[in-house]
Subunit: 260 residues, 2 copies
Amino acid sequence: MTDQKNQSIGLTAVSSAESDAILCKSCTLDSLCHPKSVQPHTLEILDKVLSRGVRYSKGEYLFHQGEPFDAVYAVRSGSLKTYVVTSNGQEQITNFYFATEMTGLSGLNMSIYPVSAVAMETTTVCKIPFAKLEELSLQIPELRESIYGTIGKELHNFEEMMLTLSKKNADERLATFLMNLSCRYKKRGYSASSFRLTMSRNEIGNFLGLAVETVSRVFSKFQKQQFIKVEGKEIQLLKPDRLSEISGNASSLDDIKITQ
Amino acid sequence: MTDQKNQSIGLTAVSSAESDAILCKSCTLDSLCHPKSVQPHTLEILDKVLSRGVRYSKGEYLFHQGEPFDAVYAVRSGSLKTYVVTSNGQEQITNFYFATEMTGLSGLNMSIYPVSAVAMETTTVCKIPFAKLEELSLQIPELRESIYGTIGKELHNFEEMMLTLSKKNADERLATFLMNLSCRYKKRGYSASSFRLTMSRNEIGNFLGLAVETVSRVFSKFQKQQFIKVEGKEIQLLKPDRLSEISGNASSLDDIKITQ
DNA sequence: CGGCGGCTTGACTGGTATCAAGTACCGTGG
DNA sequence: CCACGGTACTTGATACCAGTCAAGCCGCCG
């Protein structure tokens, strides 16, 4: 593991390194910059308003629940999680975010962020002041569309998540989770069948509404069944079709249409 | 209270009847028309693009999952639910919507609606073609803000829902649900402590990830404990503070700040 | 090398689903 | 108007999945 791999997860494709000097021109954050719709000059404009390549170490916060909302964040490399806390101190991870994904949206036009966002590893992001984004969107309609697209996806993602939490058993939840990660990695040019989990078993359990022990048990079971190969945080999907079946999820096929 | 606002909110106040001839001028769908920010002429403009007072009977669909996305809907009276369906036919209700609330947003800039929306009783809505909304938003910045606010609320709502489904037991879920309804009714000028459920026990269970029988049992238990009074679909909250405690939810207090 | 946190595995428990039966309610048709 | 049938709801008995508790292992870092 020359482990640069996980630099991988970052924008290998975007640039070989994590140089903070990258311009948006060379960045493929798909949520902001659909290749098909964005003109070169758009990117130049973006370059002027973004704080590019802001770096967070593992455990550092992009923002805390309750802080005033002022910006959304596009992940360039690394990964982060968002979570809500209840009055009695319970935490619920609401999502994980990887390179090219955007977070902070649920603060939209609310005075505060309703969640906290924290880096799960060394992570670089573009901080996008919302006011600026609004300004820019007036000049660049594609930017607006792109934002709406991101919002739509996020809303739908949450809806699917409700289904997972409400209706699926432990096996199905884990299968859904793995297939979801697989899709997201594939989309950004990494292997769909072999990747490294950036989150702990504890975090997976928290996210999926399961105890750590259950996550561990299901991983072991899937391995015994030869559906996956687990080595610590390294995961290989040996029978993605089988997992997809188990997940009972149409949505993991949304982009890929493996079956039917 | 003489201000348009509150009477506003419920559409009861908007007009005594459900006349389809109501103009937006007289409607204060708070998601579209924040009293503070919307100018009279805004409403006149809105009047021109909306299909006002479209009527659906119980069981009729506003849109089906998979249909092309073209509009969002603001509820004027009645109520509806949205739900997703999995490949294996399981359904998950993702939300209920009442007067003044907006639905259809998760189709935003996706080619299709990822959910279905169906009326739970006789319901009237304003259909707002999304393209028109975009056009208008260019002229009326407050309209845009209003939409963003609605989106932010919806995202946050889903995040809270994930917490509920993932971390709370049956009692806590039902308490959360009741307090949530209470808040929403109160906000639009109805009693916070006495209301009529427009959905069946089955739908409540589906939404909360519980079996019908469990919903029924918890209602009975709460009644025995004198927290609520249940008579079919009529609900009275006898000890809302107690329910709020049980719900363990800070968010139900977001707007109200009962405690602390 | 030692300690600590993350992970795994086993035994037991408990909350909720499931199955089953009975009751209340509502719309329909006679 | 009432009889009827079906659906929604309630309540009880039982089963099972996943949580909890407990112990041990692994791997990492100082």
